[in-house]
Structures are given as C-alpha cells and as structure tokens.
C-alpha cells in the first residue's frame, strides 16, 4: 500500500514553500524552542539553593595553627588560622617557580586567615591538611601537593586551590559567598 506513490507532487502548488508554510513552520519552531526552555532551566539551581549560597563563620574559636572545615554550597571550605611561620613560608616562594603563579598577598585578605575551597583542582577530591612536601595540603587521590597558601607545587593538579568570595563582617566573623 505504501509502496504505490502516486507520482511526485513536488513542484506543484501543494508543496511550494510559500509564505504561509514558512510562517507556520517558523511559529512551530519558535514554540518548540520556547517550550524547551523551562525543561532546561529547571536543572539550574532553584531559589532555595541560591538562598543558601552564603554562610557566616565564627573565627573566634579557631586558634593559631588550627583550621576548621565548613560546608559551603555542598563543598568543604578550609578556614585556616595560619602561624607566622606558615605565612613567612608562603611569602618567601619565588613566584616564577610556581605552576600557577600567584602571590600569597593576592590569596588572602588578612595574612593570618587563609580561606579556600577544599577541592583539589585535579579531579575534585578533598586534600588532607598539614601534609605533603610543602607543609600545606596533600591530595591522596593522585598525589598533588599544595603549599601553606594552598598553591599547587607538585603533582597533576593544574591550579591553586580556589579562593571563594568572602568578606570580614567584623574581626571574628567572615561571610563566605
């Protein structure tokens, strides 16, 4: 039944692409695209997730040489109260020798407080503190070494640990995000 095609109707007025058909097709295409947007956009962070995107951390309980890990946007954030020795080490490095050159001054707002996202820039594992060849962090997954400023020094990770946006609300409170 389907094999008996009655001559080709192309070229007759039936299939001629006149304005009406082009306009109909265009409307259908625009409509389909518009309908697709809500289906895509629903995957973006929802209003309640966006509302949680900043947290406040109380610094008064963190002594020199200690650090805390807080959860921010589902990721660990390291807040480290650095010792003078660590600061000194971080600032003594020759920037030219770094895989991802960045001055320690550009990574902290107050020298004693190092705040950064605790996710290895290689493949997303969480590095362990006060380990590795540079007294900073060491990622056990693939052996990346970070220094006391959280900069990558050795191993497969391409970049320094990310510094999130934060502001000091007062001397003892910092708002991350």
């Amino acid at each position: 039944m389907a094999t008996t095609e009655q001559g080709t109707s192309e070229g007759t007025d039936v299939t001629r692409r006149d304005f009406l058909y082009v306009a109909s097709g265009a409307f259908a295409a625009v409509g389909a695209a518009a309908a697709a947007w809500p289906l895509i956009d629903q995957m973006n962070p929802s209003a309640d997730v966006l509302a949680l995107s900043s947290i406040e951390v109380d610094l008064s309980a963190i002594d020199v040489g200690q650090s805390v890990t807080v959860l921010w946007r589902g990721k660990p954030v390291f807040v480290r109260h650095r010792t003078p020795k660590e600061i000194e080490e971080a600032r003594a490095v020759d920037l030219a020798s770094l895989p991802d050159p960045q001055a320690d001054e550009d990574r902290v707002q107050k020298p004693e407080w190092l705040i950064m996202v605790g996710v290895c820039t290689h493949l997303g594992c969480v590095p362990i503190g006060e380990r590795g060849d540079y007294d900073g962090w060491f990622c056990p997954c693939h052996g990346s070494h970070y220094d006391t400023s959280g900069r990558i020094r050795k191993g497969p990770a391409p970049k320094n640990l990310e510094v999130p946006e934060y502001v000091f609300l007062n001397d003892t409170t910092v708002k991350i995000g």
Partner: protein, 264 residues
Amino acid sequence: MKAMFKKTGLIVSLASALVSGGFGAAQAAGGSAELKHLDWSFNGMFGRYDDASLQRGFQVYREVCSACHSLKHIAFRNLTDIGFSEAEVKALAAQYEIVDGPDEFGDMYTREGRPSDRIPGPFENEQQARASNGGALPPDLSLVAKSRVGGPDYIYSLLTGYHEPPAGVELRAGMNYNAVFPGNQIAMAPPLFEDMVEFADGTPATVEQMAEDVSHFLMWAAEPKLEERKSMGFRVLLFLIIMTGLFYFANKKVWLPVKRGENV
C-alpha cells in the same frame, strides 16, 4: 465540520457542568452559608497582587494568626516578593530565633534567623499544638487558600462569619459559631477585633479590612507564582492563537486540490 464542533462543544460544556456540578454538590454538603465574593485584584486574566494589601496581610498574620498557625512553606526570603527590600527581610528574619545544630558538642542551639530560613511556627509539633489549643490543631496556613473550596473568599467569609448561634443551636464545649465553617462549630475563637493592629500606611484596621488583607496575603502564600503564571499565560495564548490561525490557513491550502476533486 461545523456540526462536529457543535457536538464537541456540547460535550465539553456537559463535561464541565458535570465537574463543577460535582464539586458544587460536595461544597454544599457542609450546609454552610454563602461565601462573600470579593473583587480581588488577583482575579481575572491580568490579575496581580496588591503589595500594600499583602504587607498589611503579613502584618495581620504576624501579629495575630502566628500565635497559633504556622506558615511553614514560606521562607523570609520569599517576602521580597511582596515588596520588602532585602535589608528589611534580613532585619525581620533576625528578630526570630531559629533552632539549629547540632554544634560540635552535639547540642542544638538557637541563632538569629536568616533570609533563607523558613518562618518558624508557634509549636514544635502537632501534639504540642493540640495541647495548647484544647485538642484542636490549628492548620498550617501556607496552602489554606488552595485547600479550601472558595479559597480567599472562604477565608474572608470565615474570618467575618462569627456571630451568636441561632436559636436552637447547642454549641459544644470550647466551640464558636461560624456561618461558613462546615458544621458551623469552629474551635478557633473569633481572632480579629477592631484596631488590634496598627497599619503603618494609616489604613483603618477594621475587622473587614484585616480579614481582606490577610486573605489576600494567604492567597499569595499559597500561589506565589500567580502573577508570573497569568502574564505568561496571556503571552502563550496569544502566540498559540496566531500559530493556530496560520496552521488553519496552511491546512486549507494543503487540502485545496483534494477539495477541488483532484487525485493526489
């Protein structure tokens, strides 16, 4: 084709009569008085909420209703929708104590509210709510405007529907007479009295005014996306009508040879 549309129209109207008739009957079964139908600003195809009324309504909720009723689906941040600034919302949230935790010792603690917190309710759980209200459970109000037949009209009519029981009606202990509440006996005492709140915009706080504003507010609480929905709906319908018009003529044009009797 016309005859077919006529018949289809008949079926559609029958079906809708059936559905509305069905609900109408279920509604009437409560044996309650007629609801007062207000001319809400959010009614109709281009309906929008009135921010001034919403803010007054929120004030009524906060100063009156919230003593017994929670509003658990609303977060402070949502209040920017009804015209509060972010700073105002932050200040407002900070007035509430939120239970958070556990801390590093495993204890729960309280802290100031943040915009991302839900508005805390007056009771910790259902049992506590019942114990404080003579066994009755004050319902959460987040969805009350959608979970009651008549919605905001019902809330308004209920809040203004308290009066002395008619002769021959025996009220059960702790009950109050209400003209629209199903069964007419409601555990909630008349909640609104003239001038019990003071509106910042100088609107006189009559019972009717407070009832109208809080009903308006609760409609927003139940259906916060109403404005977006209606304005999008108008644009979608406009688009669809034009598109369908084009399809109609395109279809007519396609069929022209067949209608002329040609074989294709």
